[in-house]
Each structure stands twice: as structure tokens, then as C-alpha cells.
Symmetry: C2
Subunit: 770 residues, 2 copies
């Protein structure tokens, strides 16, 4: 058992192997990867899995979701905050650290069950002194302002004085290892002693002066006795350091506890930050590290009751899927509806912590089914930024609301107009200009959220308002072409970004039509059944019957390109005229090999895709297409998709299963599930692939378990288990009820209602109420 | 030839092997040692030999002599200033640095001839890219505010973009690698762009707010064309970074130049610092790196004409002696008489840059004979701090002037009353309280300086004033004991600090008497021959005939302990009653082995000494003792001296030669000459042993060449060459003339007057005028 590697007294509470991600050797080349894998988040903040004592290669970032800054960068990005992790031990001035000593024993493990990081080292320094170090840390979900480290230090073959430094490091900068892009988002406003003991740093974002206070105290214990001596506080420029020392006998085990806390001006006025942090740490100390950790683990225990997904008979995959769920659920927030979930969660700096369409299409289904309160906050986040989306549409010359391609705290477009290449050349980036489908995706998200939760209150208020404004945008965006008597949307980019821009991208046109149709039906229903809500909507948005009528005219004539006389939908107007390059070689993992033709022609001149576009449409709105069309298009486009995005495999996996092509589904799932654990894209250092994590969950639940909600609003389960699996089980919230679904290796399904009203369920076409 | 390892175009100007200290492999364990060995100083500032790209183990300190700060420390110490060295190269974000790459070729060398550091590396990064780097740097002695680095960068097997960071690092703290003692002496006041391009940091000492401005610009050249692109300035907290990039073809050699400058409020009002630095760099750029380096080397060429000491037939020792001279002369300052020379020069932080008695006894003879202007500044430094010495005497309850044991910028006692052990225990440090002989040493320094230079102007003005006040101190410090009808000085520590405190230390009592006698004679002479100067002195000091008479009474009755009926002088009253432990074992280098008895008794209960005490007196005032006494005491004390201080071997070496015991003299000299080059004391990391360096010069010149000035003021030369030497030659200033002295292996002496009036010289007893 993995947990046998760790401190005896801790291991009882640790998860069994399926809960633990083990690192069993130290290789500095892997530091950045493990920093992402072992990141801990409590929804409020996230801290990467860096080492307390510091290492040469590290990006030791702490983020608080919602604390963004722009300064010299092209966009507002999550500001790397002063790092509270620093904790150094010295014997006769020698740092007892992983990179300063010979490593005799080494284990680190992420315990997903408790959401805590554990480690065990035996280190030998240059003078032959051996020190055993057992540590663990967590960021509390019981109280999100509490963070702690516990360390048991045992000098194995020597005794004497051990010196300690408890550090809060304000020198942190974003993109620390990219000279061209380095940026400091925080200015240090105070570096001072925290109350009687400890260190405190107050920093502020440079552009909006949002203050953040971080404090920490380090204690050493022999049994219950506090033994830290010679405490001294130093403000070394941007580093706050609390020095202290203690004496340990040979073989004696001394316990160290680092209590830390953080508050920001988002929760507390700036003048009160120091006091808030100080009081929080005092309370934390009084209540105790162990007690807080237990409460935190208790919160996770409840969360796992909702989120755990078990695959029997496929141990590694089971754990890998759990790993993806762990990071997703850790980042979701049930308390704060002014923040969303960034493309790298709170685990890395790539994409600046921005919300993309990934939210609605890849992550929201998980949250809606498993943590509906978090999902609702993500929806409200969009609603709070509706005014910004209105302003964005106006800026671009359109009516209604146009959501930005990338969204941070204020809803302005955060997708840069310019991109700097690693070589310093700047080129114009057209994504924000052309990739309009995000506005339809936001609209679709509302539909999807409500379909799962039946949150009609949200639908008729916030939802309807957003949908109205996005419909308005689409109606205005569609251009009437008299000679062809149809509406077209020209100069856009669809999900497949390798063809940019195009005219009449089917995905975009179809969703524009869908948005209009959906709102027409919704307002019709509201007018009849919910007149009060309808009145509110029209008053708020100025919506008129006439406008709805106009929408109807538009939606009827939106051009949807397809290959006449076949079932093939055309990705965009003229797509079938491009060079028809087909993938004909696959590597040993069945992963497509880039066709030779792409050496001759740029991808945009061929039919080769980065990621599903038509197939994504069929995935999202499958009930609007018959099975023959779905199959024909899946077959056609699958052979032409290179999976240049981590968003791609999970969709093909789900869709493959839908059309009976299970040859690749399992392998696609494995690839997606291990994308970060095995660093398959070589960029895990930049953070966990959040959309992919959502896609993994979807592949298992929508793909292999065959869960869907049909047009009648009934939960369908139509499983198709891989040979390798003995049993699959998971729990879903659905229409306010909570059900547990178990599928066995013969695709037999059993469903148990855990709470809520009885609900209708259709298992392999047979409806029952449970 | 060592210089063949370096860039073809540079090597012609480099010194031949006797001028070069080579480091031919990189071992991070040796970084701190080489930082001291390869430190460069121009008298105004000193910078340690750290690497431009940064290394894990480093103390990259820059000091400006005279810029001290106390803050939380026990004493005012030289403040580590923002480090201007930083220069990093990146290829695709990979740092091309000594610790990030495989080292294919490596050489660094200190060129003492030019006072410049040279290096040559070929580095291979993780992706197999090989880069050749040839660099050199200097801190100009032509213009002490200019510092520069020149780098030739050649991508050997690749081409592309190379990114650069030109860094001024203000995060620097003193005692960086000692957690308990770390201290930040500077506050960053500005971090901004320097003019059009470049980086500027202004920092200030924390206690007195003395401002320091440091700026730098980095340029890249293809031939004459400036090719730096994408320049960008970043203020990262306390680091100022100028980013830039350039393109290099495979095999192409690009030249980089880093121009840097520093000014402090000691030379320029704070409001003018930025402009001063900016203008200095502009002028430096306009004049050119190569041109400035040549002017700088020209200054050193002239300095070496005065200072070079050649030992033929003993290559390693010849170079090692030169190395000691190099660091001494580099630190001396001909322009500034408000600074002195610290115990570690400007090469390390130990002893805080303080002036000790080392100045007068170990370094001043070198400066007086070789660089009399620098010597005069060191004497004036003492004169400027005479008021502080008066205040110090008053504080301690004495009359006159008492010089502090450790002296920084303001002349207050900087020897701490408390010492913190590495384990954090504080104990009372009595050195400042008891080690009074420094005040006699300062007095002796004046005598010695004037004896060599015949600077009577200084003697009758500043010198007489200091001597009067120190005599006053001694007259007051001596205590009349009626029952023994003698004056005693009780509760003092002599040069041998292992007996602390004692009564009637011979060295102290003798020098107290000497000081009184010398002033009595001096004032007598002045009254007769220089009445105006005498009048000035009495007016300035309130000196009266009556006081002089009193001094005469005191000096006549000062107790000088000795063993009755023998020639043995007694180190202090009761010394001969201590356990007579004698050194009876020597290691293979003839170095004394600590006697077993010291395991039983503390040194203070035995006759074992740390360093010469009686023998030092005999060295300094040898003309007052007959040869029999000198020999008897040398024989007695030499057997009891463990050389616990680096100040010890050189004195025994000189004295051994004087008494005809040349058995150890040569080995003592080797040990002293290589003390830093071979890190024999294991603490070269903390800086070059400055007093020892002066002792090395004295051993060669006073010991083996037998140079002395007799009571008639005539230069005596009475050589005794070691077998290994073929010829010894050096140059001295003496009484305003400049002579070259050459001694051959048969001890034949030839003397040539190079400039000045004819002087009398006594060679092996035979007087001639040259």
C-alpha cells in the first residue's frame, strides 16, 4: 500500500491506493509537472505543489480566484501572489533540502481523499548527517482562509540545533521562467511582523490596487511543549522571514506546524486585512492543525460522496479518472458567483485563469450533474458579466450581448489582439474577432444546466435575460443575402481553429438558429405560463413581439451548409472543395499520424481538422439529428481530425460509442484520463487541462454509461462497457433528486435513488420510475 | 601558457603565467572561495568574483568603501549593495549558464597585470545546443565609477534568437547563507529605466539613509552594428531587469557589452545620482569598453612598476606573493582619506569592513614603502577620527584619545559587546573592553609611516596631535601602585588573545611607555626646531609643560615584567607561573600540532599562545633590544605559539631570519603566501586575509631581503635568501626617493635609484650613498 510509505500516525487517515497519486523519486526535470499534478485548491485559492524549501526549477504560484491584474501584459491574468509555502530547515547553516542533500528515501503523494499532500524523505547532508522529514499540507475547505503545513523532523544520527525560516516570499513574478514574458503583478505594500510572532506581507495588484494580506506563524513542539527559541522577524525587501531555532536530540522527533492565512480585499476592506489574517491564524492555532485538517477532510468526504466514480477492474484508469474529477471539484466554488473556472483551474498560469467556452461545453455538465450549486455559480458568473457582454457587442458594432472569447473578472474581452511568439515577433491574433460561437455556447450552457437541474427560477430570470440578449446578437450578426434569399454568418471561426476565418460555419450558424428558436419557444412558454417573469424580462430587455417575430424570420432562413444528396453536413461553406487529405496512419496507441500532405499544404487548404466541429454539434444537439446523419458525419470527420486540442478525444470517444464505433473510444478515454498524469501533451507544467478533465468525466458517464437526457427531459441510460471493466458506478443529481447508478460488465444497470422526489429513468429504452 | 585558453584577440594583452591565477574546472563547492580570490577592487569599490548568470552557492557582494550600515546588527558593517553583475543569456527560455548546462570547456583566470577577470566556456544545454562564451570584466581604476563586462557569444551548432537579461539585483542581503545572521542593509528607493535604455536601482542604507545609485546598459554588436532588439525594462520588485534579444547565425560570434556605473551620496547629492550614473554610462559607451579597459590597465601598469616583487626560481611562490600584493594594492585608495582598509579588504563580509590594528602593524609598512599616498590617506583616516577616539576615551572614563578596537566610518567602537555563537547563544565579548594596545599601535603607525616617508609635515601636525592624545590616554590609563612604587596597566589583553584579561601585559606597557617617551622627545624637538607647530599643537590640545613632566614621571616607572636573572621578557605578570606546555610535535608541513595538554587545561591556564606578543614587540621595536634578548625570547615563545591567527606566521618568519633561525622561515612564508590561494584556513570564502597579505610582503622584504630602517634613519639591507631563490627584486619609496633593490642567490645586493634625491643605504653594514 502506498500509504505505508508515510508516517505511521498519519497513514490510517490516508486513502487507499486508488486515492493516492505517488511520486516515488525526485527528478528536478519533473518539478513543474508535479507542481501542477500536486496542486491543492479549495475553490477560493490554489497553490501549486512546490517544495517548501525551494528548488532551482519551480513556479511556486499561489492564486486567489478573482484576483487578476493586467499591468504590462496583453490581458488581465491571475496574479501570482506572495508564496506562503516557504519553510527551511538548517543544521549548522546547511539547508536540509531535497536539492542540497543526498536523498536516501523519497515519497510524495497526493491524497485525493483528504485533499492533502504527504511526503517522506530521509536526507543526508554533506557532513553525513541524516534527517528524516515527514510532512503534509493542505488548504482548508472547511475555512478557505486557512492553510497549513505539518512537519515531523527527526535527526537520525546527530543531535543539536535546527534553525528554521518561515518565509512569505513576495518576489514572485508570473512567467518566471520565460524571460520575455516575465511580469510582476503585485506591489508589496507591507512586510512586517504578524502580531506577536510570525510574518505578514500585504501586496496589491498593480493596476487596480486590490490588496491581499498573507500571514504565517511557525511553531515547534516537543510533545505539547512549544520549543521555538530565538524568534526574530526580518523584512528582507519583498521577503518576510520569521527566524527561529530549536534543539533536537539524536533520534528525537520534533513536530513543526506552519499556520498560514490569506484574505483579500474581495472579502475584507484593506485596512482590516492584517487583523483578519492575524485573528484567523490565532483561531487556527487555538483549534489546532489536526482538528482543522479533520474538518477539511470531512468536507471532502461529503464531496466525494457526490463525486466519486468507481471503475472496477481497471485500477489505473479508475484512479486517473478520479484524479481529473479531484482537480475539477477542488476548483469549483459553492460560495462565490463572481468567479468561474479557468482553463488550467488554479493549478498553472497558462491562459491567465480565464473562462473559455470550455466552461459550458466541457466542465458545466459535470458540475450540473454532481455539484449543481457550483454550476449555478458558474452560470451566475456569466449573468453578472452580461452588461460587459452587452458593452462588448456594442464595441464590435452588434446588438445584444456578445460574450468575450476569454473572460476574467470584469467580462471584458481578455483574448489578446496580439500574440508574441517565443522569438519576440508579434502577430495579430484573430480569435476574439472571429470566434463568435462562444456566445452561442454560453446560451447552450443555460439550456444544458437547466435540462439537468430543472432550475426554472434561474431559467426564467437570469437565463432568459442572457438568452434574449444573445439571440439579439445572433439576429443582428446574421446577414440577409437577397440573391440567395438566406441569412449567412460570414467571417467567423468555428471550433476547428485551423480554418480561420470562414463563411457559414455550420456549428455557428446552427447554434445561432438554435439560440433564436430556443428563446422564441421560451418566451412563448413564459408569456403563457409565467406572465410575471415574462413581463420582467421584456421590461428589463425591451423585448417586443415584433423583435421575436423578426427572430423567427431570421432563424427560418439561416443557411446550414451540407453536401446535397448525402447525409454529410459541411463544416463551412466550401469545406468540401478543399484538398481532401485523410489520415491513413496511426501510431501504436492508435493516435493519428500527421499526413505527409500537410508538409506540402497548410492545414487550412485541406480538410484536416484540429478538433471536432460538425461532430461537436452532433454531440451537443444529437436529439435534433437522426442516427444515420450522425454516423455518416462521425465516420467522415473522424478520419480527418488530428486532435490538435485536448478538447478533441473525449468528444470523439462519446460520439464513437453513440454510433457503435467502440474501437477507439476506450483508447481515447485513456489518453484523455492520463493526459496530465503522464504529461502526454508535454505541457502539464502549465497546469491541469481542465476542459479535458470535464471531457473525461463526460466520456465515462455520457459515453460508456450512455447517460443522456432526452427531449422529454428523461434521464436515459444506455451503457456500453469496455471489456476491461467489471463494474462502473457513480452518482448524479438530476431534477433535484440524487441517484446512484451502477453498471455491470454485462451492461446491466441498477439505479438507486438516494434522495429527492421519485424520477423517471429510461434504461436501454425501458422507462421506470424510481 | 595560461592565456592561450582565452580569446585570441584578448590574449596578447593578458599577462604571462606569473600574472594569472587560473581556475580550470567548475566545482560549485569552490564558488565562495573563488569569489574572494577573483574579487576585483579599484580602491573605491569591490566586487566579488561571482558568476554573471548566478549560481546556487554565491555571495555576490558589491561594496563601496565607506558605505556602512548598522540596522539590527551589533555593529556598522559594509553594506552589500545591489549587485550589478547580473547578465543572463537564454535560448528558447533555457538559461545558458554554468549550472544549467554540461560544461565542455571551462577556464577562468584573474589577470593581475590588468586587474581583470577572464573566462572561456563551451556549454551544452539539455537540447544539445553548444554555446561558446568568452568573457571578461573589470572595475575601472581609470574612472572608479565605471564597471564593465564584455562577452563574446558563439552558438556553435545552432542559430537563432538569444534572449538577454541585464540585471541589477537589489534583493541582496548580508550574511545570505547564515540564516541567523542575515540582514538587509539597503532599502530600495527607486527601480526604474535608466534614461532611454538600461536599468537603474537606487538604494539607501537603512540607518543613515545614505543613497547609492547603480545603473547599467547592455548592448549587442555584430561588428560595429548594434543589434539588440525588443528592449524592455521591468521593475520586478527589488530587481531591475533590461530585457533584449538578438539573432545569431550558427558559428557567428556576437559581442555583448555591459556598461555599468555607480555613484553614492559620498560623492554626489542624492538628487543627482540618477543623472550622474546615466551620464557616466553614456560617456563610457561613447569612449568604448576597450578604450576604458586599456586606460584602466595603464593605471595598473604604473602601479605594478611600483609594487611588483619578483622572485626568480620559485615560480609558484613568486605568483602567490604577487597575488597578495595585488589584493592589497587594489584596495588602497589614493584619493579618499575618509576610508581605510578592512580586515578582508573589499572581498568579503567578515569583520564588516572594519579597520583593526592590522592596518598599522601589517599593512601600513607595505603602503608606506610602496604607495606612500595611500599610506598617508590611511593615516589621515585615523586623524579624521581622532575626535571620535577622544569621545571613546571619555566614554570609558579616560583622558586623551582611545582608538576603537574596530573602526568603520565614524570612529565609534564597532567591536561588538556581544557575540552570537552559531547556536544562538550570546556571550559577552571583552575585546573592546580590554584590548587597549590598539591605541599604542595607531601611535606606532605614525612613527613607522614617518620613519619610511619622512613626512614631517604630517608628523608635526596630524601626527603630533594624535600622539599627544594617545600619550594622554596612556598616562591616565597607567595606575600608580604606591607599595611597589611603579605604574601598572591592569586588566588588559595583549596581542595574544588566549589570555584575557591580564595584568601588565609587556607589549601594552612597553608601548605605553614608548608612546610617552616618543611624544616627550617629539615635543622637545618641536619646541626647539618648529616653534610654530609646537604652538599650534599646545593650543589645539591644551598640552602644558607640566603635563609633559608628568608623562616623564609615569614612563620612568612603568612596570615591564621579565624573568629576573635571564633574558626572558614575561608576556604578562604571572605568565611564567602558568603550566608550561610546550609544542613538541609538528606535522609534515612543520606546522605545530596542538599539544595533548590542551585537552586537559584551557589555553589560558598554560603558556601556549595564539600569536606573537613579546616577539611582536621585538619585531616592532627591535632596535631597543639587544640581539641576545631577541634570540632568547624568540626561542622561548616560538615553541609555545600555535599560530591561531593568520597574523602569526609572517612575524615569526621575519624574526626567525633576524635571529638566524631560518629553519621555518621559508615554510612560514609559503603558508602565509598560499593561505587564500589554497584556502588553508578554510575561510577564504569570507574574504582575503588582508593583514596576512601585508605580512607576506613584510616577510619577503623585511625577512629575506633584510630591509629595515635603523635608528639613524638609514635604510639597511641585510639579505638571507632561501636556497630555492635565484634572485629577488622589488622597489621601495624611502624618504621621497625611489629605489630598486635586487638580491642574488649569493645574497649580493644591488640598489638603483630610480628617482628622487640621493639617499644613504647600508648594505650588510656597509654604508653607501646612491
Amino acid at each position: 500500500m502506498i500509504r505505508d510509505r508515510f508516517l505511521q500516525t498519519w497513514k490510517e487517515k490516508m486513502g487507499t491506493d486508488e486515492w493516492l497519486i505517488l511520486q516515488d523519486r525526485y527528478d528536478p526535470e519533473e518539478n513543474l509537472k508535479y507542481e501542477s499534478l500536486f496542486a491543492l485548491s479549495n475553490g477560493y485559492l490554489g497553490i501549486r505543489g512546490s517544495y517548501e524549501e525551494g528548488t532551482k526549477t519551480t513556479l511556486p504560484y499561489l492564486y486567489v480566484n478573482g484576483v487578476f491584474d493586467k499591468s504590462e501584459t496583453f490581458m488581465r491574468e491571475l496574479a501570482a501572489l506572495p508564496n506562503w509555502l516557504g519553510l527551511k530547515l538548517y543544521v549548522e547553516k546547511e539547508l536540509i533540502g531535497i536539492e542540497n542533500c543526498e536523498i536516501l528515501e523519497f515519497s510524495r503523494a497526493l491524497d485525493m481523499k483528504q485533499a492533502a499532500l504527504y511526503w517522506h524523505y530521509v536526507l543526508k547532508d554533506k557532513k553525513g548527517r541524516k534527517t528524516r522529514i515527514d510532512g503534509r499540507r493542505f488548504v482548508s475547505r472547511n475555512c478557505v482562509h486557512r492553510m497549513g503545513i505539518e512537519l515531523y523532523v527527526t535527526p537520525l544520527n546527530y543531535g543539536g540545533i535546527i534553525e528554521t525560516e518561515n518565509i512569505i516570499d513576495g518576489t514572485i513574478i508570473n512567467f518566471y521562467d520565460a524571460p520575455r514574458f516575465k511580469v510582476k503583478h503585485m506591489t508589496i505594500k507591507a512586510n512586517e511582523k504578524l502580531g506577536g510572532y510570525g510574518a505578514y506581507i500585504e501586496a496589491a495588484t498593480r493596476d487596480r490596487n486590490l490588496h491581499v494580506g498573507i500571514g504565517s506563524v511557525l511553531e515547534a513542539f516537543r510533545g505539547e511543549e512549544k520549543i521555538m527559541r530565538n524568534r526574530d522577524f526580518h523584512a528582507f525587501g519583498e521577503q518576510a522571514v520569521e527566524f527561529g531555532d530549536f534543539t533536537a536530540e539524536e533520534g528525537e522527533c520534533i513536530r513543526l506546524v506552519k499556520y498560514a492565512s490569506i484574505y483579500t480585499e474581495r472579502e475584507c476592506p484593506a485596512y482590516g486585512l492584517h487583523v483578519a489574517v492575524e485573528k484567523e491564524i490565532q483561531a487556527f492555532e487555538e483549534e489546532g492543525f489536526q482538528e482543522e485538517l479533520e474538518k477539511h477532510a470531512g468536507v471532502y468526504e461529503k464531496m466525494w460522496e457526490e463525486a466519486n466514480l468507481k471503475i472496477k477492474g481497471d485500477f489505473d484508469l479508475d484512479r486517473a479518472v478520479r484524479f481529473n474529477i479531484f482537480h475539477l471539484m477542488s476548483t469549483g466554488n459553492e460560495e462565490d458567483d463572481r468567479i468561474s473556472v479557468g482553463a488550467k483551474l488554479l493549478t498553472g498560469e497558462e491562459y491567465g485563469g480565464h473562462a473559455f467556452w470550455d466552461i459550458e461545453l466541457f466542465m458545466l455538465p459535470f458540475f450540473s450533474f454532481v455539484f449543481p450549486k457550483m454550476a449555478k455559480n458558474m452560470e451566475n458568473y456569466r449573468y453578472h458579466l452580461l452588461d460587459a457582454a452587452r458593452a462588448n457587442a456594442k464595441k464590435n458594432g452588434y446588438k445584444g450581448a456578445q460574450y468575450p472569447w476569454e473572460s476574467a473578472d470584469d467580462g471584458t474581452e481578455q483574448c489578446p489582439d496580439w500574440t508574441i511568439e517565443p522569438d519576440g515577433t508579434c502577430y495579430r491574433c484573430y480569435v476574439a474577432m472571429y470566434e463568435h460561437h462562444v456566445t452561442a455556447d454560453v446560451a447552450y450552457g443555460i439550456y444544458d444546466y437547466v435540462k439537468i437541474t430543472n432550475d426554472r427560477d434561474f431559467l426564467f430570470h437570469e437565463g432568459a435575460e442572457i438568452l434574449t440578449e444573445t439571440a439579439r446578437f445572433w439576429a443582428d450578426r446574421c446577414e440577409y443575402i437577397p440573391e440567395r434569399d438566406r441569412y449567412e454568418i460570414n467571417q467567423v471561426t468555428g471550433p476547428d481553429e485551423w480554418h480561420e476565418p470562414v463563411n457559414n460555419n455550420l456549428y455557428t450558424n446552427y447554434f445561432a438558429r438554435w439560440n433564436l428558436r430556443y428563446v422564441i419557444a421560451l418566451t412563448d412558454q413564459m408569456k403563457k405560463e409565467y406572465p410575471e417573469e415574462y413581463k420582467r424580462l421584456t421590461e428589463k430587455t425591451g423585448l417586443t413581439e415584433k423583435e421575436i417575430e423578426n427572430w423567427d424570420q431570421v432563424q427560418k432562413k439561416i443557411y446550414l451548409p451540407r453536401k446535397e444528396g448525402t447525409d454529410l453536413l459541411e463544416q463551412f461553406e466550401g469545406y468540401f472543395d478543399l484538398k481532401d487529405v485523410v489520415i491513413d496512419k496511426y501510431d501504436e496507441n492508435d493516435w493519428p499520424i500527421r499526413p505527409e500532405a500537410l508538409k506540402k499544404y497548410p492545414a487550412r487548404e485541406t480538410q484536416i481538422l484540429k478538433q471536432p466541429d460538425v461532430v461537436l454539434l452532433l454531440h451537443l444537439l444529437g436529439e435534433e439529428f437522426d442516427q444515420k446523419v450522425i454516423k455518416a458525419n462521425y465516420d467522415y470527420y473522424e478520419k480527418r481530425t488530428l486532435h490538435g486540442s485536448s478538447l478533441s478525444p473525449s468528444i470523439y470517444s462519446v460520439m464513437g460509442l453513440k454510433v457503435g464505433d467502440d474501437s477507439k473510444a476506450y483508447r481515447y478515454l485513456r489518453r484523455a484520463a492520463f493526459i496530465d498524469l503522464l504529461n502526454l501533451q508535454k505541457n502539464t507544467r502549465e497546469g491541469i487541462h481542465a476542459a479535458n478533465a470535464g471531457g473525461v468525466w463526460q466520456t465515462v458517464v455520457f459515453g460508456f454509461a450512455g447517460v443522456s437526457i432526452d427531449s422529454e427531459g428523461v434521464l436515459n441510460i444506455c451503457p456500453h462497457m469496455p471489456e476491461e471493466w467489471e463494474e462502473l458506478s457513480f452518482r448524479l443529481h438530476y431534477y433535484g433528486s440524487w441517484v446512484e447508478i451502477t453498471v455491470d460488465s454485462a451492461d446491466q444497470v441498477s439505479v438507486k435513488r438516494l434522495s429527492g422526489e421519485p424520477v423517471k429513468i429510461r434504461i436501454k429504452g425501458i422507462t421506470e420510475e424510481i
